[in-house]
């Protein structure tokens, strides 16, 4: 090449992404993808290209969703406000954000006129896999963590003796480290207190929310007959930062299974439920 000859970029072989695997491996110079070159596709090529293209399509799809979620989540926690018209979408994102922080759920069962009952560590069953920690006591704090490499692990600890059940969903505490979640997003500490004159089986199914969020708990409704309710449900904020969900069950309460939604007041997103099983009186 002489010194005065201008360096030129060679013509582009393609100007669009390769979105068709058989077009992608077609030999150079065989014409456009629409032309029949007469050569049947080799099985190995088709297989390889199919899988590559499949992963590209599905990963692009997932990535788009994740990016949308990340943008929304930053909005949720950055500005601290969510426009009313995007609350539906934001709800999903708040849940994603909740995955990044540890859960802190406390449980207390009170029977016999408000005395704190110690729930015996009589049994412990896991719906799937082991959960860190293993005993259930009258006042339990748990940093829920799922078993490693498990999608959506959950654990159920059933305690008999005081007829109490504690259900803690395990958020990905490890994910917080992996994704660099801010320490500022401390989880809200929640305590469930049930006051009853007879043994009550209680469960709190709860996803973590940031510590500065407030909860709303709806009256508990009988699963078989929605007109029968337990209305004495209160949410109290304690000076130590703990939120207490207190449910008073009257002696005359009809037997049955009751449940009520726990809603994050900031986002209006349901983040859990309280359920009680009220036994029949003798």
């Amino acid at each position: 090449m002489s010194d005065d000859e201008r360096v030129k970029r060679p013509p582009l072989e393609r100007v669009r992404p390769i979105r068709s695997w058989d077009a992608g491996w077609r030999p150079r110079g065989s014409g456009d993808a629409g032309k029949n070159d007469g050569a049947p596709s080799r099985v190995e090529d088709v297989v390889t290209r199919s899988v590559e293209l499949g992963y590209r399509v599905v990963d692009d799809y997932i990535k788009r969703g994740q990016e949308a979620a990340r943008r929304m989540r930053q909005g949720t926690y950055g500005a601290g406000e969510i426009a009313q018209d995007v609350q539906g979408v934001a709800g999903q994102l708040v849940r994603s954000a909740a995955d990044l922080v540890g859960a802190w759920i406390e449980f207390a069962a009170l029977t016999g006129g408000g005395a704190v009952a110690s729930a015996a560590d009589a049994s412990s069953t896991n719906a799937y896999g082991p959960l860190g920690g293993g005993t259930t006591s009258g006042d339990v704090r748990r940093d829920g963590a799922p078993p490693p490499d498990v999608a959506g692990a959950a654990a159920t600890h059933a305690a008999t003796g005081s007829a109490a059940t504690h259900v803690a969903n395990g958020p990905a505490a490890t994910a917080a480290n992996a994704t660099g979640a801010s320490a500022a997003t401390e989880p809200l500490r929640v305590r469930l207190c049930v006051v009853a004159s007879r043994p009550i089986e209680a469960a709190l199914d709860f996803r973590p929310v940031p510590a500065d969020h407030h909860l709303v708990v709806y009256p508990l409704r009988n699963d078989a007959d929605g007109t029968i309710t337990i209305d004495a449900v209160k949410v109290e904020s304690r000076p130590d930062g703990t939120t207490v969900i207190r449910v008073d069950v009257s002696a005359a309460q009809a037997a049955g299974r009751y449940s009520g939604l726990v809603v994050d007041d900031q986002t209006n997103v349901p983040i859990g439920d309280v359920s009680l099983v009220v036994p029949a009186t003798d």
Partner: protein
């Protein structure tokens, strides 16, 4: 049948029966019977494979749920599936479904569309009823999942309808896969898996991983279904053979044929696809079918289906590693091969 695959029909039968019993409650005769509830109950009673509810229940059980906890979701899913079939048959102008005339062919379009609407509402009712077994929060999450599934499905259907309406010819395989991801995979494999995991684990962490598995499994399923439309046994397949060609459906085989055809052939194909469905004659359909054989389009689609099924197996192994062995897990693991073995 391979020992690993034998678990599939067994589980389809077992959980299919459970679903049918629970389904009967939502399909009980009532007024207006003749013009609503009889047509509503028609498709569900024609006896589908129950793949979707079985996948939902099996996934839920793998993650620790009871049968009772998963049953409502399975019923809701089956009702929504049948609603989509009714509406799809109208939109596609299909003539046969599960070996019998389509609902709109029997009752007219208006009654069929209304029955499809009712099936959607019944499906939502079943999901709401799951509150009694899984609690209100998870029931709400299920409804959210169902809403997303429905939205993805109608978006996928819109993409495909748009291709036909606009006589789209320059589609690529990635376009097809994106459409299938939305239209088929979400309600056939992704939603059943995600719903089952949600119910079993009571936790939504990691649900996105089911998108990959569901996509590969569902795409392999759809491509094989499209192949069966050309080469299957009509009595077993339950739909009119070559119906997809008659409808101008953009299948992988058709896209391949469009790419591989000579200019003359492509021109004839384009003119044919521009015609309304009723104007496509039997000899045209036969010609397209013959060209697909000549150009290797069906074999090509089979190879793609096998490749995607292989990726589904890989994703499945990642998802369920460490979980205890059970018929439910074996059923899920066998599905990628089973979808290819269907006749």
């Amino acid at each position: 049948m391979d020992a690993d695959l034998a678990v599939v029909p067994e589980m389809l039968r077992r959980y299919g029966d459970v679903t049918r019993v629970a389904l009967a409650r939502y399909l009980a005769p009532r007024e207006p019977q003749r013009h609503l509830y009889a047509p509503v109950a028609d498709y569900p009673r024609r006896g589908g494979r129950m793949l979707r509810p079985t996948l939902c229940i099996a996934t839920a059980r793998v993650f620790g749920a009871t049968l009772e906890q998963a049953a409502h979701a399975a019923v809701g899913l089956e009702l929504l599936h049948n609603a989509f079939l009714v509406h799809d048959d109208v939109e596609d102008e299909s003539e046969a479904r599960r070996g019998r005339p389509t609902l709109h062919a029997l009752h007219g379009t208006a009654v069929a569309v209304n029955a499809g609407d009712a099936l959607i509402l019944l499906g939502l009712r079943a999901l709401i009823d799951s509150r009694a077994t899984i609690g209100p929060r998870l029931a709400l999450r299920l409804l959210e999942e169902a809403e997303r599934m429905g939205r993805e499905s109608v978006e996928g259907q819109a993409i495909e309808l748009g291709w036909r309406r606009d006589v789209a010819l320059h589609l690529e395989d990635a376009d097809y896969l994106e459409m299938v991801l939305k239209k088929t995979c979400w309600y056939t494999t992704i939603f059943p898996s995600r719903a089952g995991a949600l119910i079993g684990a009571r936790n939504e962490d990691g649900l996105d991983r089911f998108i990959r598995f569901g996509f590969f499994l569902g795409a392999a399923f759809q491509i094989q279904d499209d192949v069966l439309n050309l080469v299957g046994d009509e009595a077993r397949y339950g739909k009119e053979l070559d119906g997809d060609i008659r409808e101008g459906k953009r299948t992988l085989m058709l896209l391949h044929l469009l790419r591989e055809s000579s200019d003359d052939e492509r021109g004839r194909l384009a003119r044919l696809l521009a015609l309304p469905r009723a104007a496509r004659e039997a000899r045209d359909i036969h010609w397209v079918r013959e060209r697909m054989d000549a150009r290797g389009s069906i074999e090509y689609a089979r190879q793609v289906a096998h490749a995607l099924a292989g990726a589904a197996r890989e994703e499945c192994a990642r998802l369920y590693v460490g979980l205890p062995d059970s018929p439910d897990r074996r059923f899920i693991e066998a599905l990628p091969v089973w979808v290819l073995e269907r006749r």
